[in-house]
Every structure is written in structure tokens, then in C-alpha cells.
């Protein structure tokens, strides 16, 4: 396969369009044409793959709405750590940020079928907050009082105040403020749109197909793997601990 300089230029133009979340093929003829060619032209596909590989990116979906890229790790396009999600986050705030995003996705796509459905989902900040609180409460009740003293995620979540008293805009230290902050970041990344009305006290966001794709194609498997690894490590540690503990009273 002979790749020409034109192919390289076109491939990089397409990657450029894909990275610009404000551009849509339906509103840009060049993007639409390159996307059409990408679907049928093996040379362009290979060139795009090569361009992406060089940038530590890869193609996760080819949709009518555009080419969807995801960063490999490490990549200059990768957030790398949640610390980069927002500067100055404490470890606990990082966890809360991740939990909020997990909850947003859970509220938007509660069943596997929802992740397959081509529809824009609307979420409100209060709706996510309610789900966070209620689930944390249920999990806390399930754990009961016979658990160890180790700090758990649900307890950390429970200790976050809901809102800033007497203020119209809740600070990021509150759960409502944090949820709004996370959703606003999704807007910046082209994964959501803020559709809050001018007189609306409860911010509302539309979660775009882009976000659904990232959750379905990347986050689901990666998180499941991390969760399984954590559970496996815990079980192994407990088993080793039990095995190391002498049976019966040494006295």
C-alpha cells in the first residue's frame, strides 16, 4: 500500500477534526468528506491509525457525528490522573470526583441496554445528588456496625455537606457544587451540554453520545478490571492474614 503525502495530510486533518469537539461533520464539508472516505478507504484508515498511534490515541468509534478518539496512557491527550481533572484536588476529593462521575453514568445509563441506545439523556444536579445520598445510605446500612474502623467510600461521601447554606451557588466543597463542577468539566470535554435555563436553580445537562461511547467502550471494562483486582487483593490479603494468625490461644 502506497501512502502519499496527501494521505498523511488528510489523515492528520481528520485527526484534527476529531480532536476539535466543536466541529461536527454535518456542519463542515471537509470533515464530512474525510469521514466518508475513512469508512471506505483502507489507505486513509491506515494513515489515520498511524497518526493516532504517534499521538498515543486510538479510534474507538466511527459515527455519523464524527470520529471518536481515545487516549492511550501516557498521552498528552490523556488526563493522566484525576489530579489533572482539576488542580489542587486532595486524594479524598479525587475519589469523590470519580464517584460523582460514576454516579452520573449510573443514573444516565442504569442498565446495559441503556448504553446501547442512541438517545441523549438529561440529568439534573439534584437527581445525581439524590442518587449519591440514597445509595450511600443503603450501603452504610448494609455494612452495619460490625465493620472494621477502616474509612470507607460511603462514609466519606456521607460527610460531604449537600449545599452551602445561604448561598445561591454551592461551593465545590459541597456535593451539589462538586456534581455541577464535574458535569461542567464534561461540557468542556465535549461530552455534555449545559441546558440550564436562566431561571433554573437546579442545573441540567444533556449527556452526549460521546460520553456514552467512552463509558461503554473504555470505562466499563477498565473499571470492572480495577474493581475485580481490588476485591481479589482484599480476599488474598484476608486469606494470608488468617493463615498467619495462630489457631487457638497461644497461652
Amino acid at each position: 500500500m502506497n501512502v502519499t503525502t496527501n494521505d498523511i495530510t488528510d489523515a492528520n486533518r481528520l485527526v484534527n477534526f476529531a480532536l476539535d469537539v466543536r466541529t461536527a461533520p454535518g456542519a463542515n464539508e471537509e470533515y464530512a468528506e474525510l469521514l466518508r472516505r475513512y469508512r471506505i478507504d483502507a489507505t486513509l484508515q491506515e494513515s489515520v491509525d498511524a497518526a493516532c498511534a504517534g499521538l498515543h490515541l486510538y479510534v474507538i468509534a466511527v459515527e455519523d457525528q464524527g470520529l471518536l478518539l481515545a487516549p492511550e496512557s501516557p498521552s498528552i491527550f490523556s488526563l493522566g490522573t484525576v489530579a489533572e481533572f482539576e488542580t489542587g484536588l486532595t486524594p479524598e476529593r479525587r475519589m469523590l470526583t470519580g464517584l460523582v462521575l460514576l454516579c452520573v453514568a449510573g443514573v444516565a445509563y442504569p442498565s446495559p441496554a441503556d448504553l446501547e441506545r442512541n438517545a441523549i439523556v438529561r440529568v439534573r444536579v439534584s437527581q445525581v445528588e439524590r442518587a449519591l445520598r440514597e445509595t450511600a445510605k443503603v450501603v452504610a446500612e448494609r455494612h452495619g456496625e460490625d465493620e472494621d474502623d477502616v474509612p470507607r467510600a460511603f462514609a466519606a461521601l456521607g460527610s460531604v455537606p449537600t449545599s452551602t447554606p445561604g448561598k445561591k451557588h454551592n461551593s465545590k466543597a459541597t456535593s451539589l457544587g462538586l456534581i455541577r463542577n464535574v458535569l461542567t468539566r464534561l461540557v468542556e470535554l465535549g461530552c455534555a451540554r449545559d441546558v440550564t435555563g436562566p431561571s433554573d436553580d437546579d442545573p441540567e445537562f444533556q449527556l452526549l453520545d460521546r460520553f456514552r461511547h467512552y463509558v461503554r467502550e473504555r470505562a466499563l471494562a477498565a473499571t470492572n478490571e480495577a474493581l475485580l483486582a481490588t476485591v481479589t487483593a482484599t480476599i488474598t490479603a484476608t486469606t494470608v492474614e488468617n493463615a498467619a494468625t495462630p489457631q487457638g490461644d497461644p497461652q
Binding site: 484525576v82 460514576l102 438529561r122 461503554r216 473504555r218 470505562a219
Partner: protein
Amino acid sequence: MSQACDTIRTVSDPLLDDPPESGTDDAPITGLNAWRLQALLPALYQDGFYRRLKLLRRTSPLHRLSETSSRQSWDASRSYDPMLLCVCAIDLVMERDGLADAYDFESLIEAIALVAEIAEPEAPGSELRDVAEWVVRGLLGSDGRADFTADYGDYRGGDYHRGIYNWHLLKELQRTDGRIVLEASVDAINALRSGLDLDVEDAQLAHETVMQAQLERGDLDGAERSADEASRLSVALAVKTRDLMETIRFNMDIVDWRAEFQSKAADALTHVLKRITAEQSLSEYLMDGADLQDSKLRLRSIAILEKVDRCLTRHRELQSLLQDAPKVFLEEQLRQVMPGRTRSRLRLSVFDDLFVPTLSLRVEDATRVATTFALAAMGPDIPRVLDFSELVNRLLRPPRCEPNVVVLGNPFDDIVDQLSDEVDPVLLAAAAGLFAGCYTAPQLLSELLAGAPGPEVAEVLRLVTLLLFDPDDLAAEEGLDMGAISDVLGLVAISSGQTFAAAGYQGDDLLVGPIALLDVPRPDFSDAESHQAQEAKTRRAPT
């Protein structure tokens, strides 16, 4: 009996109708009572019975809205009819489905508010909007979930069992131009078609034949009704075809290309091509009617012609979609065999299988799991590196000075005189009238274009908006010696970050508003008569 069921299912299974439900296998009917019941009411064991039940359930959200209307924020004595408003909403969405000016959430609310206003002319605008928003949200589903769920009893298969039925009436979809528009589901269309339990294809054929006959005998009322129905059916077919393409993209594993998909797509394409031919012939017939001397007859013919033309446009789009179907299938196949890029085959619930277990973890473990999710779910982040060339251009741009108030005859004249000597003053006045609203509240270019009475005014609007967006560069390109046009009008256009495609235009949807948006004091027309306000604008001296 089971053979009869199968026969019914095969005959009534249209191109893309609901898949057969679970529990409809050939299981024998067991028990004496079951045999008695089958003899007493055989329909209870047949699919047609459950299709009727589904149809009834599809309208349940509309009934729920009616029941809860008295508990809303507006006065309970108001005479709004939620059911009527719901059907209007679905009808409006279907009317423009697939077209450039398809309704989105906001525009549908505006349209429904207009319908509500006729019922309650005295009601304040905010209340009308609330009513309309409540209706649209009610049709979208609770919490924006875009679907409704109902459980149902089922006697098919011999044993009584219960199942769950999901459906939606309206949903929001992102178009290729980035705009999010509303789409009515086949369920909604069927519900609106009074339970017509026919293939979309058969119904279309029947309506075309009927319409042709109605036109030939001069029954324009009947022909218009048929054209409306044909339009709804074309939307139903469009939705079904899009669903088919979606199935390929998301559930390729369940699509049997050779045995099922290929023949369905080919049948659909044949059907669409036949519709195009029939509609072209109808369109030509109606064109003759458009030349009639009788103005009433002529107007009716034109109205029907517009409806037929809409069907034609949709069917042409479907033709292109269906012709691309094999390519989409192959492309999906290719995409899914790409090494390391296969989609996750996991069928997990984000909420139950990931979020809830993570909450139980120790903080350090939960941090690891939750951040893994966050990083994977957010996609690429574009590094915020400064674009130096753009930065330099911005720094070198002359600053906007304080306004120097000068009364002009008409600033639009000033601009257009320099653009062209041949612009019709009527067009100019119409464009100026539309821009006048931007002084009180910024408006999107798409909104301005939507309000344009004709393409010529739209072109003036577009041109002036572009000049307002980048006056210096564009004026220079045009060789115009007019300084900053923003300063002449006291208006400026900025990027809204959205794109649009409507009224024959597409591109960035610019926001036009007063210069105050850029922290420059806006001209004050508050005391001026609206006409005078158009005539006497303030201007700033060109820099």
C-alpha cells in the same frame, strides 16, 4: 395452535417491527383450565391480542399527564388540555422529522406554548412556557430517561407469566451537524394513527392509491388528509430504518446479514424506490393543480403538494441511507476486528455493578477504582497550549474605543450602500427590523434566519452577521472602507460554540447582541419609539 401463532407472527412481522417477545415459543398449553380458556378466548394466546394491549399502554404517559395537570404550579382552573398538547407535540415533531428545521427541545416548547396560548390567552408567558415544558418533558420520559416501562401479563406459551415492556414516545438525538433534535418513535406514531396495526409499507401503498383516487375525483379535503397520513407513515418508515441501522452499529452480533438483514434492507429499498416514483407522479399531478385559476383550489393543491414533497424528501434520504447499509455493515465488521479496539462485551450495569460496589470499598481502593472510571469516561483532553499566531493577531487588533454618539439616517443603509448599490430598501428594512431585537436580548444567527421572511432577507442577515463577527478582516477582504461595522450598529457577533443547519445555511451559530457583551457600554434606545430606534442608531467613530 402454535403453528397458527407462528403464521400470525410471520405475517404481521413488518420490516422492523418489535421483536417477538419472550414466552411466545411453541410451548404446549398445559392444564385443563388453560385448554378451556383457549377454547373460550383463542385471541388470548395470539400475538395480535398483545399488540393491541401494547397500543393501549403506549398512550399511558399521555393519560398520566392529564391526571397530574391539576397538581402543577399553574391555576387548576385553567382550561389546558394536556392530551391535546401531547398529540400536538408528537404531530409537530413528526411533521419536521429528518428535515433541516427539525424541532429541538426549546423550539418545540415555543410551539406548544403558542398552542396553549390560544386556550388561555390571558395566561402569562412564563406559565405558558411551563405548561409546554411540562408536556414535552412528560413525553420524553421521567428524568430525561427517554423511555417508559410497564409490566404486563402474558398467557402465550401456555403458562401465565409477566414481562416488562419498554417504549418511548419522544427522544432527543444528536444529528451529524451537532444539533440535538427530537424524534418521535414508531410507538408514538402508531399510537397517533389510532392503533392502525398494519405494515408501514402496506399502509403507505394504500394511502397513495386512495390519494390518487381522491385527487382524480377532486376530493381535496380527503386528499389532504391522506397526504397527512402519508407524511406520518414516511416518518414511521424513517424511524424504523434508522433503528435498523442503529441495530447494526450496536448489536451486530444479533444481525444475521445473509438471512435477515440483507433481504430486509433490499425490500425496504425497493419499497422506498416505489414510493419515490409514486410521489413524483403525484407531485407532477399536483403541479398542474397549482396552475389553476381558482385561488382556493390552487392553494389547496399547493398545500397538498408541499406535504407530498416532504414525503419525497424523506424517502430520498432513506434511499441514500439504505443504499449505504451494506457499507455500514462491512465497516462495523471491520471496526470490530481491529486489534485492541473491540468493544467491551461486558453487559454490566454501571450503577449496580460498578458504582454500588465501589461505595463499599476502603477509601484508597475506592479512589483507585473511581479514578480509573473517571479517566476512561472523559476521553481525550486537548492540552491548552496557546496558539501564538492567534494571540499575536488579537494583541495587534486596534482596541474598541468608547462610543462617539452620532445620529445617523440608517446605519444599515450605510453598510449596505458600501456592500452593494442594488440592495432593495424593503429587504434592508426587514433585516434591520430583525436585528432590532438583538439590542434587548442576544439572538442566535439560526433564530434570526428562522425569522427571515424570505431568502433575500436571510442573505442580508447572514452577511451582516458575518461582518459583525469579524468586521475588520471581512471588510478588508471586501475592500470596504467602513471601519468596524460593530461600532456602526452597536452590535457584535460572537461564537456560541454551536453549529446549525437551517434555512439553506449551515455553519457556526453566531450569537448577535449588543456591544455590552464585550464590556463596552451599549447604546440606549429605551426612550425611543421602536421605529425611531431603527432609524436613529448610535455609532462609534471608526478607529
